[in-house]
Symmetry: C2
Subunit: 212 residues, 2 copies
Amino acid sequence: VQVAALLFDGVTALDVVGPYEVLSRAPGFAVEFVAADPGPKRTERAASLTLVADKGLDEAEAPDLLLLPGGGGVDAAIADERVIAWIRSAHERSRYTASVCSGSLLLGAAGLLEGLTATTHWLRRDRLPDYGAEPVPDRVVRHGKIWMAAGVSAGIDMSLRLVEAECGPEVAQAIQLSIEYDPDPPFDTGSPDKAPPEIVEAVRAAAQRTRS
Amino acid sequence: VQVAALLFDGVTALDVVGPYEVLSRAPGFAVEFVAADPGPKRTERAASLTLVADKGLDEAEAPDLLLLPGGGGVDAAIADERVIAWIRSAHERSRYTASVCSGSLLLGAAGLLEGLTATTHWLRRDRLPDYGAEPVPDRVVRHGKIWMAAGVSAGIDMSLRLVEAECGPEVAQAIQLSIEYDPDPPFDTGSPDKAPPEIVEAVRAAAQRTRS
């Protein structure tokens, strides 16, 4: 299974590294990092972490699995015709076309979410109807070969399910054990339905400040 | 809080990117990536992901928080006197000295775990007594300013607790929400105590093949 993981400046690191850590451990999987302009890509936030895209999009024309992360740089990626054309074209031949977080907006911009329920980072749900999609709060959404994970850390859960679909439950269980994924979050505030309203509003307000 | 995250060839990507995604979102935190020889570092496994260390160890002499990841390359890092000397020296002035996964073996090699309980990736627990430490299966272990997380994904849980310790629970809750960390693993096999024995043995056998 040849995996092409898209990078761009302003990508959220964990969106793509969570799935990498899972998928790269599956037998027969090979993960490549690609970008419209290959080379070092600064990740979101403090921008102090650089991930390297080894290949251009033209060197990954027919991956079995497209992995589309999100992040503050996703709008610039959406505006890059090369990226959207690559997603459309690669999706025609892929076995899986998957997004994490606001990476689902890339699917939408490529016209792949028309009439579908879809998930994304909870702060970006209001963007999905622009692409004819109906936002749902689910952590993982699947329509045939299109898979979507909710925000950031949800890519780990989605990737384990992808491995299960491709390789069976024993392989996915072994990978979950090898990354010791026995989560023990300190709070139960990981979704807007569970967090106290004042925390939800604080995160929303901070995101709006960052974007303006 | 100035964070210095150590990189080396063969680092496990999620060991360091999980904490990065949490810590870089905390107000006043700045995360730098450092290495004995700065520049691109190939991560473990398929080695197809490259993370970039922007600075040398001599440019990060007094970080507030040392972050030491693990991975297949950790033994080479332990054998690098520059790395161990840096850990010892930086630890003298740090406010937090933290490891993820087999990164705790770096703490041990620096002489910081003598007489302490300690955690690491479950496959490496037998290495801890070499450093005078007593292995425990806990996901997060804390002794004063020394913090240790168990394997790979446990760094996310540890980092949220570190932010809670430094900034209070509201900030940590907001970060947990912003990375939508509401984990929903497909199986309950994330620790050797929970996984079926045949899965534990399969992962152990595969790790031994990789090392030999």
